[in-house]
Symmetry: C2
């Protein structure tokens, strides 16, 4: 066993390449049932993309997201795919080489040049760089043979089939994702002429001193044939002013030197300051001083730690005594922050189609939602470079999971070898990003539906590799850990009927890293995916079910018609049902985020499940409909995550006429500067009727600390001719800090009628 690990340590680093000065290729795709049978025909291929999309386009399949069309794609899992392209030998000067470069081929593949097999790889995250120079003819053919979808067993078709591969499990079918398993070239792929002396990657590593006013930099550059060349390096600030520089002759296969940056502008996450980015410019020069290659990249200076939550050291007490819960509190640049954010799932079923623009529109929404963190969930892909670049720019911390989720990944040597290869590639690529704040082994691995534990070698390997390659970034083996919590995922628990309001108040965790409240999608989305004749009423066995409205998870998820009927009576129209479901999601999510924040400082994180979705769902926990349309719940979350805002600790959702009502008022404050003093008016509003409950003047709040305010004097709810009322917590003169909640109201009359009906 020992040799496996020693071997891994010596493996190669992924090339860090620019797509500039590249020769693009025109690809065709064919498929066949057997590896040794040539495809019968070739169709045009989009690269990057997915084999499924090419076939669908060429053979005029219906859109996979409409109705039950996704089922038509299932046969494509079990084919061998051949990508094919030809190119003329370009003009290659002495001292130059022609490379074939791919940033991602999914999942197991062979590469041929002119019928000669050059390369084999298992793993979609390790970049490929092949020197073709010596083997070129006048006209050349590249073929890439992609193996069928890897499956641990042929049946049943479920996520467990992905339990021995480093391929996202989500695409094997999930409660928000259809069974559609991508295959093919999924990231930039091209030919490139490079000098034979060339840089593959530059790492600007640094250590900040205790006072954060000095950074000790170590610049590592790795590449081919560097010895004897020259280099220059400079660090530019945001105004492109040169701050540091270095130059010299390269006398070893790697370039490595130290530098010191005094008083660096620190990189801060959203709402905590500016995500300041410097530029590192590394130039490789020949002995005449001519620039052969320039590598430019952004650098942000921050210190990230995962520290013990307030109060965790005081638990447990007495004897026999267990350990204290592990850390779940982010400290950025010496400042403890409350992590507000969401769980990021792949924004497309076929990641080959994801563009920088797709990432950008979603990440702009994350900023709008007042988020400072996204958890890149281990069920999905590790994102493309542009995702992390945008997070660096926007100040979104990234909790990055390795692609393990809800399976028992084995101690098997082959799996460990591929995992090690992929993890090393991922680590070396992403560790450069200041947004990268936490490495995590994967999702829910220490729960019984996964069955891994602290002795599982894949997780011990990931701990070891992250320590070796990125020791200054924290690592956790999975989420949840002790003290942390996932769930609930419904507004009202299926078994004990407890609502999120009561559930959360009775909870005491260090971090709520997954919680959700489902809702139907918006009407225009539903009309886009559900055939008109199935649209109303929603039924089992229709496109509603395929799109996760029924039988998605335990209980009546995700449409929750039973629960909605219980609260509101039977919906008469689709509009009514959608309105009710989205209302419940909004109030539910607001309640959870706000209660998690009220539990600060012991609690330090609140991340709902989930932010986005990979296709148009009929019902889901997401707050954004595919591709980037916020649901009402999104705005509720945005409000609940304002750095400074009023909050009410509401006891329940449904209230009756004459029932005693009171609520405790809080000010939630994550500001890194003093929050201003002010005045609060609390009132109930039903239609035109307004009942004032409380006036309260509060002093300025200290930095990063909530204030528990007064509880309103209980009143009996008046008779209103309404089915809902608003609780408004008005921050006088500062509407941007005010909060309001819409609650369900029932008149006693109706209540009595109901009782009568039941007594008959």
């Amino acid at each position: 066993m020992e040799r496996v690990f020693l071997l891994l340590i010596l493996s190669t680093i992924p090339s860090i390449l620019s797509a500039q000065d590249t020769i693009s290729l025109k690809w065709e795709l064919g498929y066949s049932k057997n590896k040794n049978t040539s495809p019968r025909k070739f169709i045009p291929a989009t690269v990057p993309g997915a084999v499924q999309l090419d076939i669908a386009k060429a053979e005029k399949y219906g859109q996979y997201y409409y109705g039950e069309n996704w089922k038509d794609y299932l046969w494509m899992e079990d084919q061998y795919y051949t990508y094919h392209t030809t190119f003329k030998k370009p003009d290659i000067k002495p001292g130059e080489s022609l490379y074939f470069i791919s940033k991602g081929i999914d999942y197991q593949f062979e590469i041929y040049l002119n019928n000669e097999k050059l390369f084999y790889q298992e793993g979609m995250f390790t970049w490929v760089k092949l020197d073709l120079t010596g083997k070129l003819k006048k006209t050349n053919e590249i073929r890439i043979v992609v193996y069928p979808v890897p499956k641990k067993y042929p049946f049943p078709a479920n996520r467990g089939q992905a339990a021995d591969v480093v391929k996202p499990a989500v695409s094997y079918g999930w409660d928000f994702h259809p069974r559609l398993v991508p295959l093919g070239i999924w990231d930039e792929t091209f030919l490139k002429i490079e000098q034979s002396s060339n840089i593959e990657g530059v790492w600007v590593n640094y250590e900040l001193n205790q006072k954060l006013d000095s950074a000790r930099l170590t610049i590592d550059a790795k590449g081919a044939n560097l010895d004897g060349n020259q280099y220059t390096w400079k660090l530019l600030d945001e105004d492109n002013k040169e701050i540091l520089n270095s130059s010299g002759k390269i006398i070893s296969p790697e370039v490595e030197f130290n530098s010191e940056l005094v008083k660096p502008n620190l990189w801060w996450p959203n709402d905590q300051g500016t995500p300041y980015l410097y530029s590192s410019v590394f130039e490789l020069k020949d002995n005449s001083g001519n620039t052969m290659q320039t590598v430019i990249q952004k650098v942000g200076f921050r210190r990230v730690k995962l520290v013990m939550n307030s109060g965790s050291w005081d638990e447990p007490q007495g004897y026999p005594r267990s350990r204290s819960n592990p850390p779940a509190q982010f400290e950025i640049n010496g400042r403890r922050i409350f992590a507000k954010g969401s769980n990021w799932v792949p924004p497309e079923i076929f990641p080959g189609t994801i563009t920088r623009d797709r990432y950008n529109e979603l990440l702009d929404l994350a900023v709008e939602a007042n988020f400072n963190i996204l958890r890149v969930w281990g069920g999905g892909i590790v994102n493309k470079e542009s995702f992390y670049e945008l997070c660096d720019e926007k100040g979104i911390l990234i909790w990055q999971e390795f692609p393990l989720a809800c399976n028992k990944y084995p101690d098997d040597p082959l799996y460990l070898k591929i995992l090690g290869q992929e993890a090393r590639s991922i680590l070396l690529r992403l560790k450069k990003h200041p947004s990268l704040a936490l490495w995590c082994g994967g999702n829910e691995l220490f729960n019984n539906w996964s069955g891994m534990d602290d002795q599982s070698l894949p997780l011990r390997l990931l701990n070891s590799l992250t320590l070796q390659l990125d020791p200054s970034t924290p690592f956790i083996p999975t989420s949840p850990l002790s003290g942390m919590a996932h769930g609930d995922y419904v507004f009202r628990d299926t078994y004990d009927q407890e609502e999120v309001f009561q559930r959360m108040e009775g909870s005491h965790y260090t971090a709520y890293t997954e919680f959700g409240v489902s809702s139907p999608s918006s009407i225009n989305v539903l009309k886009k995916i559900i055939p008109a004749d199935e649209l109303w009423p929603p039924k089992l066995g229709t496109s509603w079910e395929s799109h996760h409205a029924f039988k998605a998870w335990i209980g009546n998820t995700w449409l929750m018609v039973d629960m909605l009927t219980d609260y509101f009576g039977s919906a008469k129209t689709l509009d009514e049902l959608v309105d009710e479901g989205q209302w419940v999601q909004s109030e539910g999510l607001k309640a959870i985020y706000e209660e998690a924040r009220r539990q600060k400082p012991h609690c330090a994180m609140a991340l709902n499940w989930c932010f986005d979705e990979p296709w148009y769902t009929a019902a889901n926990n997401s707050v954004i409909n595919y591709p980037a349309s916020p649901k009402p719940g999104f705005y509720a979350v945005r409000d609940a995550c304002r750095p400074f805002c009023a909050s009410a600790a509401i006891k329940k959702f449904k209230w009756n006429e004459g029932e005693e009502f009171s609520v405790r008022i809080w000010l939630l404050n994550d500001l890194y500067y003093q929050a201003p003093s002010g005045k609060v008016i609390v009132k109930l509003i039903a239609g035109n009727d307004s009942t004032e409950l409380l006036r309260w003047e509060y002093s300025a709040l200290p930095v990063n600390a909530n204030l528990a305010g007064p509880t309103t004097i209980p009143i009996r709810l008046p008779e209103w001719n309404m089915d809902r009322f608003k609780l408004v917590v008005e921050m006088v003169g500062k509407p941007e800090y005010s909060s309001e909640y819409t609650l369900l109201y029932e008149r006693r009359l109706q209540e009595e009628n109901k009782t009568k009906v039941m007594n008959k």
Copy 2:
């Protein structure tokens, strides 16, 4: 930071050396306040030993264990020590080298040959091997300069001073160990002539197949100048019959080959089978076939896993949901075993004095106690080789901690470098032993008195190194983990007065890896260490306190006079006090071990604190007095750990006349074969009076499963003219399975009198 870890991986392996054919040296010792000042004089030195013992002998100090003598030794902490020896150049043939070899120098030292500095090392666990050949004169002098006791800060003098060194913290003062910090040469140290082609270590690694009927062996031999030589290897069984062999020419700097052993005799821990040991004989030969070196070592084949405890996957339930508790169940050769054992602390204050015989007498007692495991606690040393050899032979599983305990060991690069060096040496030395069943980062590191957590780099490094060097042995970062427990350490809790009987019944843990009940030491021990005029009554501020009878831990530990007086009234003599204290320890430990066993299968371990002690204590949790005298508690533990035995779930210690008494009977069964059917008679015995409570016939018990038996019908305790009574659970005709408990009895008369007294 990155380079630190990459560097560590390339560091050297410790030499595995035989002390045969060695040239022993006669040493002298001197000391001085400053490093650059030569010692004023030299005194004879015992090697291995400790500088303190040499000085004490030469300067006629009182025995450190008597009275307050240990305080006289304190000044020795802050000196520089110089070991000095001379030797004549021996006859070194061509192709040979003269090596200076030491298996342990404590803690930071320099080595000089003829006034030339050859070597510096921090760390007592990494062996030293220096080639002196080229530098020899006719007469030579070796000097070893040992630095003063390393201290993180000068004051206060406590364990925290050891928080940045890889040196056992226990010697800086503990609740059972005086402040006496060893320094000097603590393991075998000699000169040796070796061929310049020589083997430094042979590792017989293996992987057992799923069915355990085949072992795939990989033999690694490392050494100097091996290339071009020959080797032969054979595996012998216990009858010295050759089972496997291999031979060949060495064509790389290391020897490595594979072999397969069909149907290996497995190594089993005590009470689970035979700890079968094979012998590996590796011979290095020159090209003429002459043997240059023979390396013989024992090999045992077993598979060890730490697996999830029964029921752990079912916890927690509901949402929000945390993780399941980590594994704390040993599985040996596919069989889940209940780990019964104890915490091993250094058996000597000065580890240089420990011999194989000292280990042997203590390990024989561990076998007699029906133990199958010892936890080598991280506050003490990693033991000498003979300890692990004896554990291999006797079938004692070893839970080995790295030398970290109750401190916040830092993320500092220098500390990590030394820790890495020492850990690698420890790993490569101990991984050969079949008894080595669990690696652990250290003691109680995830509790607030230590302050380390899952992000601490020292523990991430240890996890990483154990994975690299010994991946088939489990690793835990510390004890306790979630679900596991340490404590209580007293018979009756100081704060809430709950006794161990109630405490344990109300507990639900996967493993009780530390628990203790203190007792006074036996009379002959007390007389050996406490001056006659201090002996009675025990008082604060006397040798009783220095020997841990008072102020050792929280409450009135460890003598617990208040509690004993509360139960028994004031003791009139020392004998009475010792008898009472030892009675309480016996019943307390029995209760805890038996209740832990009743909680099987969820609970899988019971290890009391502690087995042995490093010096004569006046009162302590140990069950063995220094050096190897069992206390009565030892025999109680021995009985409670019998693989098959009767057990009674007793509710409390003290009973009154007329009080309702009942008890539930159990059969505790850890046998790996069916336990025989039989008959139980339960009775109470006070003097000559015997009251039968129950007769019960039970069927044969399945392998490795307890049987919860009936509860006796409650009776009112009769009037006895005694202060104690026995509960006897007689296994008819099988006295070796019977159990009995001695409980405290009080007549109502006395009770009424007491009440009257109190009412006055």
